[in-house]
Symmetry: none
Subunit: 193 residues, 4 copies
DNA sequence: GATGAATGAGCATTCATTCAT
DNA sequence: GATGAATGAATGCTCATTCAT
């Protein structure tokens, strides 16, 4: 479990940022969780803001790479959209410890770091494009019914974010919640087709 | 524009809580915004936690009342569901200033006050029931196709929360985003019907 | 000896700033010296920088007023210059506790607060003018021999600053050091006259 | 331009100590300026205090040697005093980069290192003696008018320190300031002679 | 009701220094 | 000689809260 001190700080930050949010995650808590002294955090990451920026960016990139990989295994547009949704929801389950951190990322979340950072927006945008491209592909290869791809991408994202938040934090979600969401969108996007 | 000092504190707290979140909203900022001295806040509301609890509860109740009123004008289940969605989305637009506060309310949001409070959960639950009852009604009067009402309520909520967050905070949402969501659910809930 | 807490903080800051300089005068030391808690310093003065700015400005103004008063009792230019020098040197003896603070004031001192502040420069300039005007007056009423008033003012100031620093801090200065300086300048400014 | 790492640290320390003072000159800044890592400073100089002690001592000795050399070229006491003043003022101009460091040296300056160090006092004393001996010589060979040599040395030093501080740091000094000071003392020390 | 002085714990960050490599 | 990770104390400052007026 123990890597280098820098790694431990990173892991502790990701976990606590998800659990407590930016403001309530303090150097002291991170240091205790990582098993290092407080001074080392600034030594390795410069500042609180930079630390959490690094955390968010890393997680977003990891998710992006997993999503991209999932698309590789799809044969058509509808399959791509389905895989994207499945992968996203699965990621939220497999990485419960830090997925909430991702949900806090601007623009997924209301607040995060004191200032908005382009770095994070860029990563979110890349993930958004991945889904939008899949939807567009589905419309072109006629595996999805005709619709506005931008709009549909928005709706799918809204639902997934809403659903994973509900599931990860407080609400007791119904059994089979995630499979139902997948089939919900499958029906929706092909019905009348 | 100026009411009593207590009212001013309340309004300032609602606005700042929405804009800045719990941790970054300080007595000093609230006092400056409200045009009163710091000491008066605790004098009127007891503590920071109680103040924001009051704010959240009040807003949730206001939304609940508006939603309930919208249902009064529906003639069948599908109409009720539609009105609920329309009312919710409209409320988020009409009350931009404090709607973000609502989005921070547990269980709608990851974090809000340090501790979860039943008071808030109860209010959220009441709103949830309002929609769930409408869906159930729609299934019974056959204006909605058959489905699991709990599941569908969840999905609708997830989408609305996701959508309003996107729209209220950072993302440039497409034009006609909200009407599209309404018709999206209308199609979805009646298709094949 | 005990005034209000704010006064105590001010007095402690003036004393410690003189003794220790800006960087080594900490909130903790000021708070202990003033018999208050640390938080109260920022409450009353905003920040360390503002606190010491206030201290410097106040002392400079006090010195200025005393110097101005001394000029009132002079009947001609030479008398004004003499009184200025006597008053300045006496002030450094009478207010040993905080006079060193003044010596740290920009532009009297190399470093003081992190940033140069016009407020302080303006006060120093006013004191400089007081002497320069006296010198000019002396040249005009022929109680001083002809010379460049700006230059002479500079030299007098340099000597007084150098002398008071020597006397206030570390060096054992000769007995009658200050009277000698006064008569030194008297001789110098009138010789060959 | 680049010598050994140790030399670079020394040069960087001299420069920064002059510019920023003791407290604000940190290992990090010195290391960056010298192009070495932080750890190396302590490795070579032991501690911050020792480093700056070395810097001050070296500069004081360099100035002393230059002053001593200038006296070699004088034929009488008045010439020695004049050369001393000229050399001192010139040194402050030629070595602007680190001369301010010297002005911070105890007992020339209020504060420098946290503790007074005899090493530095001794060097300052040696420089003081150099001038005092010249004055005494001048009185003996009747090139200076009769006066208290200790007192006069003090006054000359006060003026020079005051003048170089003014000139090196903040104030716009008049043109010909230094030549004027030289002739000022020449007149003063010989007038009525 | 209203003020603002006062508190004490906590915050992010800096710093000189040590030490294993 | 040289590196940079690691430490722990200290710093300026903020904050929610209390309380006398």
């Amino acid at each position: 479990m123990k890597g280098t001190a820098k790694d431990n700080i990173f892991a502790a930050a990701a976990k606590l940022l998800g659990q407590l949010g930016y403001a309530e995650t303090t150097y002291k808590k991170v240091a205790r969780e990582a098993g290092v002294t407080e001074g080392l955090i600034a030594h390795h990451f410069g500042s609180k803001e930079k630390l959490f920026l690094k955390v968010e960016q890393t997680i977003l990139r990891d998710l992006h790479d997993k999503l991209e990989e999932s698309l590789f295994y799809s044969s058509d547009g509808m399959g791509a959209v389905t895989n994207f949704i499945k992968c996203f929801l699965r990621y939220s389950v497999d990485n419960k410890e830090w997925f909430t951190t991702l949900l806090r990322c601007s623009p997924f979340i209301l607040e995060s770091s004191p200032k908005d950072h382009k770095v994070i927006s860029v990563e979110c945008e890349k993930i958004f494009r991945l889904l939008k491209n899949s939807v567009t592909q589905g419309i072109e290869d006629h595996t999805l019914k005709d619709c506005d791809p931008h709009m549909i991408t928005y709706i799918i994202f809204s639902t997934m974010i809403g659903a994973t938040r509900a599931n990860n934090i407080r609400l007791k979600t119904p059994a089979n919640f995630y499979p139902e969401i997948v089939s919900f969108f499958q029906n929706m996007l092909t019905s009348g087709h």
